[in-house]
């Protein structure tokens, strides 16, 4: 339980909150700036998401005290994240590896309009990647 730990760390807690807040603000500014300078291709997404994950972890660990929670509470939260990843991952895996024409036309998963060829499945398997 959090209480004994909280008593011990009373003073450090306030400082901790402050530090986390500053870190969050700095990361927000950072991600905003990086977005403005338009990193090439996949980097923009990767960096933005990495920063978001970092910020989220800070909030969860320190503001939400997962750092000093009991096992059950951590487990609950971790489990929910597993299922988030599961749903997103397998859904995208499906569309990324489908018979291309079964994806919405005009989308990356489907070929550009006007090219439904016999060799589609193989050609698509080579060009597609998540």
């Amino acid at each position: 339980m959090a209480d004994p730990a909280a008593h011990k760390n009373e003073h450090s807690h306030r400082k901790r909150y402050l530090a986390v807040w500053v870190a969050l603000a700095v990361l927000t500014v950072l991600t905003y700036t990086l977005a403005r300078i338009h990193l090439p291709g996949a980097w923009a997404v990767t960096v933005a998401l990495l920063i978001a994950v970092t910020k989220g972890t800070l909030v969860a660990l320190f503001f939400m005290h997962l750092w000093d929670q009991t096992g059950a509470n951590r487990l609950v939260f971790a489990t929910s994240l597993v299922f988030v990843a599961l749903l997103i991952g397998l859904v995208i895996a499906d569309n990324a590896t489908r018979f291309p024409l079964a994806n919405p036309p005009g989308s990356l998963g489907a070929l550009p309009a006007g090219g439904a060829d016999r060799d589609l499945p193989e050609a698509a398997a080579e060009t597609e990647g998540p």
Partner: protein, 351 residues
């Protein structure tokens, strides 16, 4: 053996090699299921009798499993299940990979009928004619909601998704007529969305196809199943399609996106076409109509000037119908212009 099992399990006839191999797996799986169910149940019944309660205060021994018990409990079924998977999955994969030389047929589901079109050839309602012994790839789509194209005799099923294509293929080897169902619930007449696949000997099919291409036998095709009364006649798009088939447009223009003698009609409407002159035009109504009447005027880059003029062959309504048909040919409306309505025409339930 095969025949006995097939009859015991009430399975329909097997019209392809694939159906026979699926049935082999079916027999294996059902047999193991039966044996397992019978074994568990038999053991349980033996226990019921052998260990029935004899007095009200009878104590029972505590029996705890040794690890080996649980290992057997897990390992035995799991190895069977994985074996099933190992046998079944390759068959599924083979369904996803049509052979290169397969003949294409376009299958369109709409409330509540199946329509089949042969590239550059005829189209028909509710009867899919295929040659025996030759691979046929089906490119399946839907005009409205999800349907599912199901041929029990071929053990084949594939959903038809609106606005996009799914594929499956088969090589039917036994000439005959087999039922096609719609297996995905699609509304009030779902259960009458039937059709037939007619497997013909190869030579016969070639003759039929040749005759179809001459436009002679188009009337014969829509007889077999219940809903022949539903025709495209009323819709402009259907009319355009009929005219296009009659006039032979589809001999040179594909409707599926493949490159042929002329540019494909799929997604043609609204497309920016680069011309031999280097200019670019948007394929709108005016351009399409002009191309029918003066085909040599604007040739799309990469194609020859081989198209005859249809001036005088097409009446203005017919030309308009063909334009409508071309407009309807798109993989969806996700082209530029986001709120563009879909390509399908919804039919209000209840006909």
């Amino acid at each position: 053996m095969n025949e006995l099992m097939r009859r015991m399990l009430f399975l329909p006839e097997q019209a392809s090699e694939y159906a026979r191999s699926v049935d082999q797996l079916h027999f294996f799986v059902i047999t193991t299921t039966m044996i397992a169910a019978a074994a568990v149940f038999g053991v349980a019944i033996y226990f019921f009798v052998r260990y029935r309660r004899r007095s009200d205060t009878e104590p029972t021994p505590r029996i705890s499993p040794r690890p080996i018990h649980e290992v057997v409990f897990i390992g035995l079924p799991l190895s069977f299940f994985l074996l099933w998977f190992a046998l079944g999955f390759p068959m599924f994969v083979s369904l996803q990979v049509p052979p290169k030389d397969a003949m294409d047929v376009y299958v369109l589901g709409k409330k509540w009928m199946w329509k089949f079109a042969y590239p550059g050839g005829p189209s028909s309602l509710d009867a899919l004619r295929v040659p025996a012994g030759r691979p046929v790839r089906l490119l399946i789509t839907s005009r409205d909601v999800i349907h599912s194209f199901f041929i029990p005799a071929l053990r084949l099923k594939q959903d038809a998704l609106p606005g996009r294509y799914t594929q499956t293929w088969f090589t039917a080897d036994t000439p005959g007529r087999y039922q096609i169902f719609c297996a995905q619930y699609c509304g009030v007449a779902h259960s009458t969305m039937l059709a037939e696949v007619v497997v013909m000997p190869g030579a016969e099919f070639d003759d039929w196809m040749a005759e179809q291409r001459r436009g002679l036998k188009s009337a014969q095709d829509s007889s077999p199943v219940a809903i022949e009364s539903v025709r495209f006649g009323s819709s402009l798009v259907g009319e355009g399609e009929r005219v296009a088939a009659e006039q032979g447009c589809l001999k040179c223009h594909s409707v599926d996106g493949s490159r042929h003698i002329g540019p494909t009609w799929l997604n043609l409407y609204g497309r920016a076409e680069k011309l031999t002159t280097g200019k670019t035009v948007i394929a709108d109504e005016a351009y399409l109509t002009k191309s029918m009447m003066e085909p040599g005027a604007d040739i799309v880059a990469g194609y020859q000037n081989v198209m005859p003029t249809f001036q005088g062959k097409l009446s203005p309504p017919e030309a308009a119908a063909i334009v409508e048909y071309i407009k309807s040919l798109r993989t969806s409306a996700a082209r530029p212009g986001p709120s563009e309505p879909p390509a399908y025409e919804p039919i209000p339930p209840g006909k």
